[in-house]
């Protein structure tokens, strides 16, 4: 897989598994899971520093920004204004111009508000941000996001944290055909086969958090996901056989008694 690189806005990645850093027991577990997963891109959230308890450690003491590409998100933002504000704060905190842009529409589903997403993306792209948008599995919205300058799109497989797997594989396939930028399937993966399937469909990468952090053994699941994404990618490149209703013998008839 050495020469099979994922390139986004001039940045090159070998691993096609992207991981979040939320919901782990502690920073040591976070660090270990990320290391085992082989991920190079790691998402983080932007929040108030705890000023009353300064003994609390910093995530970036465990996830070295020199080793990993830190991708700040705008999780928890339900308006264009909030998403833009958090993106600017993330950049001011000094990691990079990258942002995983989320404008959420609803607390129950955490589905993206795609109208707000496009509006926020336009503002941020004008300000020089590299916007990776968390979007629906909607090919038309994905095309619009690419048209305004997003160098990749991140459609959901299923609601965030749901573990339901890919709910609409046909839409995702159409979306992948519709855009000429990398597609990172984001959110909804439950287990290794979901990740493999996303890659077999032709996704360029998969981003997950809960599927690893919420597993009974997060470190073991991180490893499972690493191989799932690899094998899914290899199978996609190898090209699967067509589905047929009836059997085709794989042993020759010739030479039988």
């Amino acid at each position: 897989m050495g020469d099979d690189r994922l390139i986004i806005a001039g940045r090159e990645f070998t691993s096609r598994l992207w991981v979040g850093t939320g919901k782990y027991k502690d920073f040591v577990e976070t660090q270990k899971a990320i290391e085992v997963s082989g991920a190079e891109v790691v998402t983080v959230a932007v929040r108030r520093v705890n000023i009353t308890d300064r003994s609390k450690e910093n995530l970036l003491d465990y996830i070295d920004p020199k080793k990993y590409t830190i991708l700040p998100n705008t999780a928890g933002c339900y308006t264009v204004e909030d998403a833009v504000r958090y993106s600017r704060l993330a950049r001011a905190a000094g990691v990079s111009d990258l942002v995983k842009l989320e404008v959420l529409g609803d607390e129950k589903t955490l589905f993206p508000d795609t109208a707000g997403l496009i509006e926020a993306a336009k503002i941020l792209i004008k300000e020089g941000f590299i916007v990776l948008p968390y979007t629906n599995d909607d090919p038309i919205v994905a095309k619009k996001l690419v048209d305004i300058g997003c160098p990749a799109v991140m459609p959901l497989a299923a609601p965030i944290g749901s573990g339901l797997g890919i709910r609409n594989p046909y839409n995702l396939k159409i979306l992948m055909e519709a855009v000429n930028v990398p597609v990172i399937v984001d959110a909804g993966v439950g287990t290794a086969s979901d990740a493999a399937l996303a890659m077999e469909y032709g996704a360029d990468a998969v981003l997950m958090n809960t599927a690893i952090a919420g597993a009974q053994d997060p470190i073991a699941m991180a490893e499972a996901m690493k191989y799932a994404v690899w094998s899914g990618r290899l199978a996609y490149k190898a090209g699967r056989i067509p589905r047929k209703l009836y059997a085709t013998a794989s042993s020759p008839i010739e030479g039988m008694l």
Binding site: V19, G20, T21, G22, K23, Y24, F27, T30, T43, V44, A45, V46, R47, R48, V49, I51, T52, R54, N58, L59, L60, P65, I70, P72, N73, A75, G76, Y78, R85, R88, L89, A90, A92, A93, G94, V95, E102, L104, E107, L110, Y134, I160, G161, D186, A187, L207, M208, N209, T210, A213
Partner: protein
């Protein structure tokens, strides 16, 4: 002794000296300036001006940093 002022830091009231800068406040709070973002009255400050920006009575200061997160929606 210098005059005291009151500012809001991450939503909590805090007294500080009238001649204090944002850099002084961060130092008081034992926050290293590396990888934090500071917003005063909704204006994001460039790290380079932390040492020059004086705090004024009633300033609303927000100090933010990166925490663990994938995608979650609770405020």
């Amino acid at each position: 002794m210098s005059e005291m002022i009151r500012v809001q830091v991450n939503g909590e009231g805090r007294d500080c000296h009238a001649d204090a800068t944002v850099a002084d406040l961060l130092k008081d709070l034992e926050i290293t300036t590396e990888r934090v973002a500071v917003e005063v009255n909704l204006e994001i400050l460039d790290r380079a001006v932390f040492g020059q920006r004086m705090l004024k009575d009633g300033d609303r200061v927000e100090i933010l940093s990166f925490i663990g997160g994938g995608s979650f929606g609770r405020r």
